[in-house]
C-alpha cells in the first residue's frame, strides 16, 4: 500500500459525463470520476477500452463531444494542450514520444520549456539573462537525471537508447515540468521484472518526495494492486468499477470483463 495514503487531499481533477466519439466509434461513454490530490490512481481495462483516449481528453489532445472537466477548480468543456501543460499536467505516452533527434539532456530540458521566458533575442546572444536562465534550468534537469539515475546517458541521442531507458527518459521529461498531475500511459509496458521494479520505485518516490498526483494506465495487476490508492476500471468506453484495489479485485463485473478468475 502506498505510504502517501494519509496525505490524500481534495479533488484535483474531476471528469463528469465525458463522452468521446470518432465518427461512428464511441471511445468513451459518460465517464465520471475524480482524482484526488497526492493519490495514485490506476486506470485499468482491456485493450480498446478507452484508457489512452481518456488521458488524451485530460491533456486536451482530444476534445469530447459531451461532459465537462474540472481542474484546479476551473470547469471547462475542453482542455487545450498548452493550457493543460501550463497549469501542471504532464504525461508519458504508450508508444514512446521522445524527440529522437535530441539527447537525453535536451529531451528533459524540453520539459522545462514552459518555464523559460527569456525572449529569443536574448537567446541569440546567449549571454546575460539567457545564459543564467539556461544554467538554472540545466541544474533542475540534472536533479531529475540524478533522481532517475541516467547520468551516463545524458548526452546520448535517445533514438539509440534501449526501450527501458527511453521510457525512463520520457518520465524524466514529464517530471521536468514539475507537474501537479502526472499522467502515465503504460509506463511499464515491455519491461522485464527488474526494470518494472525500478519504475515502481521511481513512481512511488515521485509521489512521496514531490507529492505529485499520479494517474497511470497499467496492465500488470501486481503493480496496480501494490502501488495504487484507487483503481478505475474501463470497458468498452464505460466505467465499470471505481474503488480501492481490494474492492475492485473482488468486483464481479471487473472479473468478468477483465481480470478473470484464478483456477
Amino acid at each position: 500500500m502506498s505510504e502517501s495514503h494519509a496525505r490524500i487531499g481534495g479533488t484535483l481533477l474531476k471528469v463528469e459525463n465525458v463522452s468521446l466519439s470518432f465518427g461512428g466509434v464511441q471511445a468513451l461513454s459518460e465517464i465520471s470520476f475524480e482524482i484526488r490530490e497526492h493519490e495514485i490512481l490506476a486506470i485499468i481495462g482491456p485493450n480498446g477500452a478507452g484508457k489512452s483516449s481518456m488521458l488524451n481528453v485530460i491533456n486536451g489532445f482530444y476534445h469530447p463531444q459531451d461532459g465537462v472537466i474540472t481542474y484546479k477548480g476551473e470547469t471547462r468543456k475542453q482542455m487545450r494542450p498548452h493550457h493543460a501543460a501550463a497549469t501542471g499536467i504532464a504525461r508519458t505516452f504508450q508508444n514512446i514520444a521522445l524527440f529522437k533527434g535530441m539527447s537525453t539532456l535536451d529531451n528533459i530540458m524540453t520539459g522545462r520549456l514552459l518555464k523559460m521566458h527569456r525572449h529569443f533575442l536574448w537567446q541569440a546572444l546567449y549571454w546575460g539573462p539567457a545564459l543564467r536562465e539556461e544554467t538554472e534550468h540545466r541544474a533542475a534537469a540534472e536533479k531529475i537525471i540524478d533522481f532517475l539515475e541516467i547520468q551516463a546517458i545524458r548526452k546520448t541521442p535517445v533514438g539509440r537508447l534501449p526501450y527501458g531507458l527511453q521510457k525512463r527518459v520520457e518520465l524524466g521529461r514529464a517530471l521536468a515540468a514539475e507537474p501537479d498531475l502526472l499522467l502515465l500511459d503504460e509506463p511499464m509496458a515491455g519491461m522485464n521484472v527488474e526494470e518494472k521494479e525500478d519504475m515502481c520505485r521511481f513512481i512511488l518516490d515521485v509521489s512521496d518526495e514531490f507529492g505529485t498526483t499520479i494517474a497511470l494506465i497499467e496492465h500488470d495487476m501486481g503493480v496496480v494492486m501494490d502501488i495504487s490508492d484507487r483503481v478505475i476500471v474501463l470497458d468498452y468506453g464505460r466505467k465499470i468499477a471505481d474503488g480501492t484495489p481490494d474492492q475492485v479485485r473482488g468486483n464481479p463485473a471487473v472479473i468478468d470483463a477483465y481480470l478473470g478468475v484464478s483456477h
Binding site: P81, A97, L98, F99, G101, L113, A174, A177
Partner: protein, 357 residues
C-alpha cells in the same frame, strides 16, 4: 592522441554548454577565423570573386535554410524567393535613402524578408511534409513574378535589372562597381561569422529545442506545451531573415547586379542540396555543404584538362550535369546524414588515433 580530451573537466554548466567545449576545437576555430581574415593577402581576384564570396553567401543562406528544414523540420523550396526579397528591397531602400549605412539596409531588408517568410509560413500549421514544400514553391514563383512585373521594385528601369550603387562604410567603398573584391570578401566574412554565432546560440537554447521538438514529434511537443504555430512561424521568420540578408549580399557584395533569374528555383534547389549534403540540423554542415556545392562545378570544369581530356564545351557541360547528379545520389546513399556526420565520425576516430580501437 592529439585530440584527447582527457583532463578537460567542465566545472560549470555554462562551460559544458559552450559552442566549442573541447580546447583543441577552440584553437582550431580561432586558427580558421584568423586564416579566413588573412586570405585577401594571398588570394587572387578570381578566387575571391568566383569562389570565396559566393561560398560565404551560400553558407549564410544555407544556415538560414538549415534552421527551417534541419532544425524545425519544415521543408521549404522557397529559398530563392526570400533571397530575392532581400536583394530587391535592399536596392529599393538604399536608392531611396542613399545615406543609410548599407549594412543597416541589409538588416532592414532581412526583416522585410522575415515578414514575407512569416506570411508564407502560415500554411505550415495545417500542412506538412511535401505538401508544405509545394506550398513554399508558391512563394518562390509568386515572388519571382512580382519582382519581375512590378516596376516599383527596380525603379522602373527598362531592363528590370537592379544594380548595386556605390556605397561606402568608414570611408571605404564596399559596394558598387569600385568596391574591391577584398573589401567585399571581408564584409561578407564578418557578417557570416557574426550570424553563424547567433544561429548557433539560437539552436543550443530554448528556441532550438522547441524547433527540434516540433521536428521530431509535433504532437508530443504540443502536449508538453510548445505552441506549434508560434514555433513554426518563428522558424520561417528567422530563416527568411537569413535568406534575405544572403540575397542582399548576393546583389551588393557579389554579383553587383541581378535580375529575378538570379533567384530562381534552381537556386532554391542548390541551397537545399547544400543543407542536405552538409547535414540537416547542423550549423557546421551548412558550411560544409556550401563548400561542396560551390567547389564541385569548378572542380568538374577544371578536372578534365588535368587528365588530358578535351571535349566540346557542350558535351562537357552535359557530362558535368550528369556527374553532379550522380555525386548527389552517391552522397545520399553513402551518408544521408551529410558531411557533418562524416566529420563527427572522423573526430571520434581522431580521439583514439593512432589506436584503431
Amino acid at each position: 592522441m592529439i585530440y584527447r580530451e582527457a583532463g578537460q573537466f567542465k566545472t560549470s554548466y555554462a562551460s559544458d554548454q559552450m559552442v566549442f567545449p573541447i580546447l583543441q576545437d577552440r584553437w582550431c576555430i580561432a586558427a580558421i577565423i584568423l586564416l579566413a581574415y588573412a586570405i585577401p593577402l594571398m588570394a587572387n581576384e578570381y578566387w575571391l570573386q568566383a569562389i570565396l564570396i559566393p561560398f560565404l553567401i551560400f553558407a549564410f543562406a544555407a544556415i538560414g535554410l538549415n534552421l527551417l528544414v534541419g532544425y524545425a523540420g519544415q521543408l521549404s523550396l522557397g529559398t530563392g524567393g526570400f533571397m530575392a526579397v532581400g536583394g530587391y528591397m535592399t536596392y529599393k531602400i538604399t536608392t531611396s535613402f542613399p545615406d543609410l549605412n548599407i549594412i543597416v539596409v541589409f538588416l532592414l531588408s532581412g526583416l522585410l524578408a522575415a515578414l514575407v517568410g512569416l506570411i508564407f509560413g502560415l500554411p505550415s500549421l495545417r500542412i506538412k511534409g511535401f505538401y508544405l514544400a509545394v506550398a513554399t514553391l508558391a512563394a518562390q514563383f509568386f515572388l519571382g513574378w512580382i519582382f519581375n512585373k512590378v516596376g516599383w521594385f527596380y525603379n522602373y528601369s527598362s531592363s528590370g535589372t537592379i544594380t548595386a550603387p556605390p556605397r561606402k562604410m568608414f570611408g571605404i567603398m564596399i559596394a558598387g562597381p569600385q568596391a574591391s573584391a577584398e573589401v567585399r570578401y571581408l564584409v561578407a566574412l564578418t557578417l557570416v561569422v557574426v550570424f553563424a554565432l547567433i544561429a548557433k546560440n539560437l539552436v543550443r537554447g530554448k528556441v532550438g529545442r522547441a524547433w527540434m521538438a516540433i521536428r521530431d514529434m509535433d504532437i508530443a511537443a504540443e502536449i508538453i506545451g510548445i505552441r506549434p504555430l508560434q514555433t513554426k512561424l518563428l522558424a520561417f521568420a528567422i530563416s527568411s531573415f537569413y535568406c534575405g540578408v544572403a540575397g542582399a549580399m548576393t546583389v551588393f557584395l557579389w554579383l553587383g547586379s541581378a535580375e529575378t533569374e538570379a533567384f530562381d528555383i534552381f537556386l532554391s534547389f542548390n541551397i537545399l542540396f547544400m543543407v542536405i549534403i552538409g547535414g540537416l540540423g547542423s550549423i557546421l554542415g551548412s558550411f560544409l555543404g556550401a563548400a561542396f556545392i560551390t567547389l564541385m562545378p569548378i572542380f568538374l570544369t577544371n578536372a578534365p584538362p588535368l587528365f588530358g581530356l578535351t571535349m566540346p564545351i557542350d558535351t562537357q557541360k552535359h557530362i558535368e550535369v550528369m556527374i553532379f547528379g550522380s555525386l548527389i545520389i552517391f552522397f545520399l546513399i553513402v551518408e544521408p546524414n551529410g558531411l557533418a556526420r562524416l566529420w563527427q565520425i572522423s573526430k571520434e576516430k581522431l580521439r583514439l588515433w593512432p589506436f584503431p580501437y
